[in-house]
């Protein structure tokens, strides 16, 4: 089986203005969402209490919320996972885990006969703030490391700039979707976003590798044509790899349980965004920055000053 039996010849570069527009629109939408809705930070970052409860039968979320409010819990957030499982989030408290567990068990005993607490987490607000800082550092260092790598790897800043734009583009889209859907943003999601940064570049690098090869084959090749050829020649591989990765991520999404839901969603969105940006954005940016064969293979300049005495 083959996706494309013959070598494809899509004119990706010709339509690049359309894709620039789409990307710009998505970026703006993401930023508007950050500004208005913000991210739904999980207790990892805000501090507070998170409790997973499993009921023997299907349960009404509103009832759980009412039960907790009646028991004196201030603004409990209750979210359901499947019919029988709920996640309860409470703002930071001064009580210890046992006390909260007891109070919640008591409050829920009025709602359903036997509720089982699976997981209980208490994160101090100080720790939450620190985790947020260290997540930012992790993000910063990953980007820095990748920038340095790209600057060293490709001899021209035009390719590096294209790759960097893609690297920033993809995680912003992931966070944008998380902001719009208000999916809880926790530590595993940060890990997924970093993995997305790594993966999204993976395609871009493979395409760039091929661009170098095209120019090597013929330096006279028109830049736009060389880029189109490079993308077309790697297209099968790009799609194939992403389909396979998507298969496993979808398995994680549906079978991995609530802990990994956000993580798998972030990866899935990231894979789609990464594929899109490496086909339509990163090379196009390099072209518009004036990429030519001699940038990839600098011609040896003759020294201006001769060394004869």
């Amino acid at each position: 089986m083959e996706f494309f039996h013959k070598q494809t010849n899509f004119p990706f570069m010709a339509t690049r203005k359309v894709w620039y527009g789409l990307s710009a629109a998505l970026m703006i939408a993401s930023f508007v969402s950050f500004a208005t809705l913000g991210l739904n930070y999980a207790i990892d970052f805000t501090g507070g209490v998170s409790i997973d409860v499993k009921f023997p039968t299907a349960i009404d979320v509103d009832k759980v919320r009412a039960g907790l409010t009646n028991a004196g819990f201030h603004e409990p957030q209750v979210q359901s996972f499947g019919a029988r499982e709920v996640n309860i989030r409470l703002p930071p408290v001064t009580e210890t885990g046992d006390v909260i567990r007891e109070r919640v068990e008591k409050a829920l005993s009025g709602v359903a006969s036997s509720a089982e607490i699976g997981q209980l987490e208490v994160v101090g607000s100080q720790v939450g703030a620190e985790l947020r800082t260290s997540a930012m550092w992790a993000l910063g260092f990953t980007l820095l490391g990748i920038f340095i790598y790209l600057a060293l790897r490709f001899h021209t800043w035009r390719l590096s700039a294209g790759a960097i734009l893609a690297v920033i583009h993809d995680p912003i889209l992931v966070l944008g979707v998380f902001s719009v859907t208000q999916t809880p943003f926790d530590l595993p999601v940060v890990a997924a976003v970093l993995a997305v940064i790594g993966y999204s570049l993976n395609d871009t690098v493979v395409v760039f590798d091929r661009i170098r090869e095209r120019f090597e084959a013929s330096r006279r090749l028109a830049p736009a044509l060389a880029l189109d050829q490079a993308i077309n020649q790697t297209l099968s591989r790009t799609i194939m790899t992403k389909v396979v990765t998507a298969i496993v991520v979808v398995a994680l999404l549906f079978l991995g349980g609530p802990v990994l839901r956000g993580f798998s969603e972030a990866l899935l969105i990231g894979i789609v965004a990464g594929t899109y940006s490496s086909i339509w954005i990163s090379s196009a940016v390099a072209l518009d920055l004036g990429l030519k064969a001699e940038h990839v293979f600098p011609t040896v300049k003759k020294t201006a000053v001769d060394h004869l005495p």
Binding site: M1, T94, E95, T96, G97, D98, R101, E116, I117, G118, Q119, L120, E121, V122, V123, G124, Q126, V127, S134, A135, A138, F141, T142, G145, I146, Y149, R153, L187, P188, A191, L194, A195, I197, G198, Y199, L201, N202, V205, V206, D209, R210, Q233, T234, R237, M240, T241, V244, T245, I247, V248, V249, A251, L252, F254, L255, G256, G257, V259, L260, F263
Partner: protein, 626 residues
């Protein structure tokens, strides 16, 4: 012609063989188990083993396997509910007396593997259930203790030398924010230098300076930053040690107690469930003081006046609240204790105490001349409590000092004696706390995560399910897309998972978490990439009319740079996560990083070797099934 060096075949073969053996214990899986040990750490004999098994059988919790290794008995159970049933029944029957039990997971692999040192991957708390606690060490308290002791020494030195002074106080010098100095304020016209000389003897390691304040001259000793840092470090080290001792006393299987960052300690207790008792014991700052009773004065009068006579201190008796007067001078403190055990005495339950040589000497000196008088044992407990002041919660330290025993000295004793006057449960807890040592600075819990045992098992099932289904999906898809070459890729993927499992079982520090399993699944997806890059190259070469064998060779050669390049970026992200992540996230990072290495090895060397075996040599190949 398609060839591959012989040493490379041997390398690939032997690496995979070793990996397979290392990964085997993990493949057998782990069973929910109960680990049982005697409280006195003596060996368990087979008779006791049989009677425990029989007892559990009577409670519908017959162990499916029972392994006795010296002083540890591990009972395997069919499932988690049965394990919990067994734990409850066992604790009701035995735990108060002879045994401690701990929930754990034990490998299903035959004992043979353990004998040759092969163990399965260790599982994180999210997979096996347990309690994770993060404590902040209150290091400012450790500094306060140092200042307290300097203050005491200085007051004593001033009194001994009959030097007149106004006051001794603890003050903040410089912009540190915490109190870091002891200051002796002197009356006007006092000779500050002479006082400094007197004080220097009492506090030789404190740099003393003289200053002039508005009220008159003063001598002060400021802790250097180095001294403060050392003291804080010591406090954290001491706390780590104490916590380890306490955790060991609790009887938890495979606990982890480690320092995290500057002033935090994280404690991981697999199998421990929401146990208020555990946290109580871990966080308790308790120490003992032995003081002689004050026979000259009446304690009730002192209590009415609300003030103790000079040279004495007023305490309350535990339980009754009766006032007790004890001498200010401490005979022996808890630091000089070498052992503490519960004991049954004529006066009821108690703790048998053993002191070190110096403590024993002091005790001997005091008891020799004081037979017939009374001695008090003071238990000092520090805790934190949160109270609401003006609608805002405020946390404050509370120090509780109670006399737990006030008895007549019946004879001369030195380093070995009993203290009584408590319930059986209290005696057990006190003995444990004394044995484990006291904390050098209070611990404040800042993070707490508890995962129930059934949820842990569920997480394992979910992870394994996702792994199996995801891999099957990839296998089928690859086989359809690349035919025979797809099957080769599938074999390579499988060996990649085996290799990764082997590496993870070797790395004892990194426990497998649910995100870690996700990392393995993701690695499977990503490892395909290398194969895809190679195969697409081979197809391209074939399309260009290159002969099959040359196409395979060219495919591997030309795809190499793309494979290496595309993995570097993921490697960067993985390494950063490894450095910044903690707990489950670090587990993910470890898997991600190792996975890059194993997938490159298997895809580049493993599949090359396999394809060379299939299509190599001087055979004539007309077409490749790709």
């Amino acid at each position: 012609m398609l060839e591959y060096a012989r040493w490379k075949f041997i390398l690939v073969g032997s690496v995979l063989l070793v990996a397979l053996i290392l990964a085997l214990p993990t493949v057998f899986g782990q069973a929910p188990a109960l680990q049982i040990a005697r409280k006195d750490r003596a060996n368990i004999d087979t008779t006791a083993q049989a009677s425990i098994e029989k007892f559990l059988g009577g409670h519908n919790a017959t162990p499916v396997r029972s392994v006795l290794e010296g002083n540890r008995l591990t009972l395997h159970f069919r499932d988690v509910p049965q394990q919990l049933r067994a734990r409850d029944a066992f604790n009701n029957e035995f735990a108060q007396q002879t045994y401690v039990s701990a929930l754990t997971f034990a490998t299903r692999a035959p004992e043979f593997f353990a004998k040759i040192g092969l163990r399965p991957m260790s599982l994180g708390l999210d997979l096996r259930g347990g309690l994770y606690l993060l404590y902040q060490v209150d290091v400012t308290r450790a500094i306060a203790q140092v200042l307290d002791s300097y203050e005491q020494q200085m007051r004593r030195a001033l009194a001994d030398s009959k030097t007149p002074y106004v006051d001794v106080t603890q003050v903040t010098v410089g912009g540190g924010g915490i109190q870091n100095a002891v200051r002796v304020t002197l009356p006007p016209n006092a000779d500050a230098d002479a006082v400094r000389a007197v004080l220097a003897k009492s506090a030789p390691d404190l740099a003393l300076t003289t200053t002039t304040l508005a009220s008159g001259p003063a001598v002060q000793g400021v802790l250097t930053e180095k001294q403060i840092r050392e003291r804080q470090d010591n406090a954290i080290q001491k706390n780590l040690e104490t916590l380890r001792n306490r955790v060991n006393e609790l009887g938890v299987a495979e606990p982890v107690v480690q320092r995290q960052g500057l002033d935090r300690i994280n404690v991981q207790l697999p199998g421990v469930q929401n146990s208020a008792e555990v946290k109580d014991i871990l966080g308790k700052v308790a120490t003992l003081e032995f003081r002689l009773g004050d026979a000259q004065n009446n304690a009730f009068e002192a209590a009415q006046r609300g003030r103790a006579p000079i040279g004495s201190k007023l305490y309350k008796m535990r339980g009754t609240g009766e006032p007790v007067l004890l001498k200010r001078d401490v005979i022996v403190t808890g630091d000089q204790l070498t052992d503490a055990k519960t004991a049954v005495t004529q006066e009821g339950p108690g703790v048998a105490i053993k002191l070190d040589a110096r403590g024993g000497e002091e005790m001997l000196k005091v008891t020799r001349v004081n037979v017939g008088r009374r001695m008090g044992v003071v238990l000092i407990e520090q805790s934190r409590e949160t109270v609401t002041v003006n609608g805002k919660p405020v946390t404050r330290d509370v120090t509780k000092q109670e006399v737990i025993n006030y008895a007549t000295i019946r004879g001369v004793f030195s380093n070995s004696f009993n203290i009584t006057g408590m319930q059986a449960g209290e005696a057990r807890e006190l003995a444990l706390l004394l044995r484990a040592g006291s904390l050098a600075a209070p611990l404040i819990p800042v993070e707490e995560r508890a995962v129930g045992p059934t949820l842990g098992q569920e997480n394992i099932d979910r992870g394994v399910n996702a792994l199996v289904i995801g891999m099957l999906g990839v296998f089928v898809f690859m086989a359809i897309y690349y035919k025979v070459f797809g099957l080769v890729a599938d074999l390579v993927l499988l060996s990649n998972v085996v290799l990764l499992t082997a590496l993870l079982s070797l790395l004892r520090g990194a426990a497998l978490s649910l995100p870690g399993i996700a990392g393995i699944i993701l690695t499977v997806g990503m490892a395909v990439d290398a194969n895809v890059l190679i195969y697409e190259r081979i197809r391209e070469e074939l399309r260009n009319g290159v002969s099959p064998q040359a196409a395979i060779r060219a495919g591997f050669e030309k795809a190499f740079s793309a494979i290496a390049d595309s993995n570097v970026t993921t490697l960067i992200a993985g390494l950063v996560l490894w450095v910044f992540g903690t707990g489950p996230i670090r587990g993910f990072a470890v898997v991600l990083t190792l996975g890059i290495g194993t997938s490159m090895f298997t895809a580049l060397m493993g599949s090359r070797a396999l394809l060379t075996l299939m299509y190599g040599g001087k055979r004539k190949i007309a077409r490749l099934p790709i």
